[in-house]
Symmetry: C2
Subunit: 292 residues, 2 copies
Amino acid sequence: MEKLIIEARVNEYAMRKRNPHVPWTSEEIAADAAAVREAGASILHFHARQDNGAPCHDEVRYAETVARVHEVCDLLIHPTLGANTLEASPEGRLAHVLEMAKDSRTRPDLAPMDMGSTNIDIYDPRQKKYLTTDQMYVNTTETLLYFAEAIRNAGLKPCAVAWNISYLRETLIFHEMGLLEEPLYLGLTLTEGPISAGHPASPAGLDAYLNLLPDDVPIEWTVYNYGGNLLNLAEKIISAGGHISVGLGDHAYQEVGTPTNAELIAMFVDVAKSVGRDVATPEETRKILGMN
Amino acid sequence: MEKLIIEARVNEYAMRKRNPHVPWTSEEIAADAAAVREAGASILHFHARQDNGAPCHDEVRYAETVARVHEVCDLLIHPTLGANTLEASPEGRLAHVLEMAKDSRTRPDLAPMDMGSTNIDIYDPRQKKYLTTDQMYVNTTETLLYFAEAIRNAGLKPCAVAWNISYLRETLIFHEMGLLEEPLYLGLTLTEGPISAGHPASPAGLDAYLNLLPDDVPIEWTVYNYGGNLLNLAEKIISAGGHISVGLGDHAYQEVGTPTNAELIAMFVDVAKSVGRDVATPEETRKILGMN
């Protein structure tokens, strides 16, 4: 079987209350990058953070972080567009990525495109109450058409992310329109905990995506579990030829010893070994995803 | 097996180019109502239309249509909130329904709640081009909380409609919060043709919903195919205990002889007979859905 791509989602906007190992600063992210590379990851997904952990939308901080990571390892880099910048224009949401792409010292390799829109409110099942009631994650078709063109023109590989089947169908339309190169790098979002916008993190929730992937489109798919433990599905995903996207940004993993990102990645490498699948290096990942 | 509920979706905003039998005026809708009742439908879903077929958001026209239908048959009535009134406030979108509910002469029985938000652009596969790029169908959680309370206070039965799994999960949260009475009347949206916002109208597209329905929540589920032929899935749906929502509003059905709504309903009744399932009367439907 093709080698396994492990993408390390090291921090998102996670704080340190549940797991103190979440990296925030450029230095911390670079140190974690080297460690997850050593453990078996080939792609780094990160969010720039202020020194106190607050979200950071500063282009300079993004560039500084990428430059530091490049200095310490050869991980492919997949920055976020920043969910907290949704009020910005499409151009504003992508600007830091395009700016970084101009300089080899700060150049990322991939960029995410969340292929649709959804309600994304926070629900507390203990109180049986929504803690927010007006949160939407909006990516209009017009925005996505701009992203597809700008990401391609910058020579980056888009990661097309689905939160549900509506997103998957929009992705397949973009492919039919010739806007996404083959193979597609497709992120399948499962969600647990306070966010219910993705599919449930169960075999049935995953299969609801997999059974609708077309046979005639080359697709490399990876799976997230935002808000929950992905280990429960790891063997299923890896055995089925999928890839893994995981990290402390998505879940604190207290139930398996509150690991560092590198320790967490090592657990997935162990699952891959147990089913006889090798792990891809960054260079091999580049080939699997058809990147230059 | 429990009896089959057939909901007739007689017109939506369909024009008459592909099928001349789409009812527009109050008189036409009432005549179709009597005919589909005779054929086996127990619920009528309709959109008020102007005499030339244009969308009509006039409360008086809605009320006049319901009154005429009540005069000619005992169908349960499920008006739309009107997709074209999305610019209106939540109160504005529901106002005609609440107004009609005050008078037994015009009183509807059900009201729809589309349980989430999605991009809903129109795509032309022949041109490989989006004909719209900024269309969204927005129902925020806040709006849905208002709908749930107002529809319950009016004594109507909500039909919770899912376009994808994100909507299904929001529906199940509303149930957990005690905002939706059991059994849920759950609409599962499949889409074909120019709209790709729902699940594909294939066995896998339907199963992607069915495999995620919880075992411990009483649910009566019905299936639409917006933009395509539902007959292809009728035996699967009816055999699995689901209900049918179909009509010329969703598809012209030229491939089966450009039928009237009543002729179309009769085709689904035939499928039910072939699998040994009886069709519910409006009174039986009321009991199945737990309505007063």
